[in-house]
Symmetry: D2
Subunit: 286 residues, 4 copies
């Protein structure tokens, strides 16, 4: 297929590379043009404007936040009204997803946020959470298979996929917070963190979230960030905004947002979002 790809950060570059490997004709655009070099060397075309990447079958966007997406869609040289189906992978607000769906024109819009950190993206092992009209999802299906290990269809309202993504990211933060508190309690009581983690993952908690983040917590391995705390705080704030507009009290969300604020303030913005464990440990003087 002829696919445009906009947004070449850690995640986007890895996904676009897999599209190339799968034999697609890929045109890339990035705000800082130098990030396109590696992909162009690997066979991708370089677009001068976002719009020029949206003239094929699909145009996929993987950007940092609402503002960046609004820029490439509605800004000068933006993709709004282009013939390609817009596939939004970014973690954005429910409100923006609704607007993208409403204003998508003939090309159409599908929300398809993903779960997985950069290594999973590079390995084509992402999980894709997709929502939009059925025919559009059918067209995307083979492409999603090239970048991910499984696709979940959430229904025909695109923003529903974004709500699931925000919920999932909240669940990750909740699991990290819980592990951090339990590890702190155990360590202060003389049980080392590794022993606790082995019992947890060997009994009821044998899921990737506990294996992946458990290892990170054991080693206090928060730099370089796989997913930086300010991006995590952005996502948790999107979840908070959804919670306010939908009328859903979420006390656990409040805790993780406070710990993200704290760890950014005390450790700096380059720390991984799992660094909320440091806020917990330090409050106990570990």
């Amino acid at each position: 297929m002829r696919i445009g790809f906009i947004g070449l950060g850690q995640m986007g570059s890895a996904i676009a590379a897999n599209l190339l490997k799968a034999g697609h004709e890929v045109t890339v655009w990035n705000r800082s043009a130098d990030k396109t070099d590696a992909l162009v060397a690997a066979g991708a075309a370089r677009a001068a404007r976002p719009l020029d990447a949206a003239k094929g079958d699909l145009v996929m966007t993987m950007l940092a936040d609402d503002r960046a997406v609004e820029g490439v869609v509605f800004g000068e040289g933006g993709i709004v009204g282009a013939p390609a189906l817009h596939v939004g992978h970014s973690t954005i607000s429910i409100a923006l997803a609704d607007r993208l769906a409403a204003d998508s024109g003939t090309g159409g819009y599908v929300s398809a946020p993903v779960f997985g950190r950069p290594p999973a993206a590079a390995a084509g092992k992402l999980f894709v959470v997709a929502a939009g009209v059925e025919a559009a999802l059918d067209r995307c299906e083979p492409v999603f298979a090239d970048i991910g290990q499984r696709t979940f269809r959430i229904g025909d309202k695109p923003s529903a996929a974004n709500l699931v993504k925000l919920s999932g990211n909240f669940m990750i933060m909740a699991a990290v917070e819980a592990m951090a508190e339990a590890m702190t309690l155990a360590e202060k009581g003389g049980v080392d963190r590794q022993t606790l983690l082995e019992v947890l993952t060997g009994t009821l908690f044998g899921a990737p979230v506990y294996h992946i983040y458990g290892e990170i917590l054991l080693e206090d391995r928060f730099r370089p960030a796989g997913f930086a705390a300010p991006l995590g705080l952005k996502d948790m704030t999107l979840a908070d905004t959804a919670a306010t507009s939908l009328g859903a009290p979420m006390p656990l969300l409040g805790i993780v947002r406070d710990h993200l604020r704290s760890v950014i303030a005390t450790e700096g913005p380059d720390i991984d979002w799992a660094g909320i464990a440091l806020a917990v440990r330090k409050s106990a003087k570990l």
Copy 2:
């Protein structure tokens, strides 16, 4: 082996039955004697006092709380000073576990709390978390294999096993709280709970805790209780007491304790501890 078993609630009865099936010579005692009938019919002997169940190789206790354990150990006709090795399966305080270890006499004491709800106990699929002197743990090992699928050794200080157990129960409550909040957010946004749960367990959250409690939450299946909320609150209060004495702030623990208080007050003491999900749902008018 000659094993005494004290405390025949849902969990204890199932464990004792497995000991009989495995060929051990079992003597049972329970405060309400009628609960011993089924086991006696299956071949167990009935002890007149706790002490009479503690004259063999092991005496296992599976009781509701500190007070009950103190009663059968230090009360009239209690097992303190008896020749059998005391294996404590109850979820008790760190302080009481330390006292049982200090006062255990020649018989010795091992803490061996378990993870698993009644069906797992009946199937011999418990996870046993054990701590105590190595020789004592070695003696228990084959018996633990009769009642559980795996044993974790935590070290030579018995109360360390209790701390791990409390940490694990806290982790369960944290996972339930997180799911309840995420499901509430999703449902208020038009995504049904089952869809969210499928995405979660199909991606990063494919662990028993999410499968087991996710199903309970999907169906609001909180009665009859597999583990009643007041017992859950007791355990979370033991964790809170440990957190105070060890100097570990645990904000997530505060949330689940409040929700347990609320659901007991509003729904009654016969509700399952996973019923904290109701506190979340009702606060959002679901």
Copy 3:
């Protein structure tokens, strides 16, 4: 002075009436024109557009939220660039206050949010919290004396006054939450709420916030709302946004925001913001 007044809700109408009483020449504008009738009958002029109310010495705005302020300032017929000094009484975001200051043109801009519920506004007993360049504050001083009992100067950066206002509203919600929790504990223990309130206000807590809101809580008098819960939630969300951008963890803020969400969801948007006490009471089945 020649004063324009924009925004004639409960608070704005009361303030504008006091300006008339004090002898000022007042021109009023409101989105729903019918709300201007009473003031026009009392001697005010009616402006056709916001801009027409901004041709005198001062133009005061008292509106519901950022969007409304942006509309009357930057929208069609807006006051931006008008000769009058803009005095913003609305509780708005730090970011918007900064923008109003930056874009205020020759007229200038002063932030002057107020503390006090509608009865205080009617009695001219508001507290005015003002920030802006000193000469501008000097010009406003006599007018503030007409509508309030005391003016606090916070410095020359207008948004600082808004930050103090948001902090103050947060403090009110915190006091209400604390009283609600303490009253609930006491009542469940057999001490009636009035007795507790008398001890509190008779000892360390003899301040208006406890007298005013304490009476409201004693009588569960949440309708009609003096300050509606959705406006309270808006303010607390502005505080939350400031906390995120400034890097200030605020766990108590998280609690009151959740309780506001809950009480709006369960009781409806017409309830007073002190209605968060209901969320507390109901969680304890009172």
Copy 4:
């Protein structure tokens, strides 16, 4: 009157001194006998055992916690069964107050916890919160007037006074937490703490709790402790225990307990309970 006084810490010594000044015949007892020296020099008699201080009209106890009270009442040489009316000033659990009432014998028991820090005790400006049978309260009334500025009667069930005391201490911690969060937000936004405090105390928050603790927070004056954090945590844990047994969710209480744990862990046990402000400030890197 002939009054025994047991427990000569900062508070007790000040109260006992006022009783001497008022002309009462005072007999004192303290676990560390050297603390009785100053009062004996001022005219008090020294008792050899607690019981010897309980043979007059009243015996007042002002001790650190439940265990200390249980010791002097039910321990060897304890006052249980003595002829004097027992007046308990200590902040103790509801459960222990109920037990003291039930077991008080002919002497009778009144709970009379006080509000006020050591300077208020020395000045005879305490607030006394008293509960017990009316005749007993009538007998105490003139003595309370010698040590305090006002007495509140809570009813005939002694533990009700303790519940009010715990509620009041919780309210103090809640006010400190709220101020700490608001001051942190303001300071990170460029508004100094003193300015914020002036606005607060000059508007809705003009109560002793904000004046007294506001000054402490402005100056970070947490040592020497007027009321040490471990005692504060003890009181908040008593409130938490009451909340559990009465079925009252108290999320704000959870926050202050966590901050007390944190500040004790990081700053040491000699810090004032208002030091929870440090936990807030440090989480924001102030």
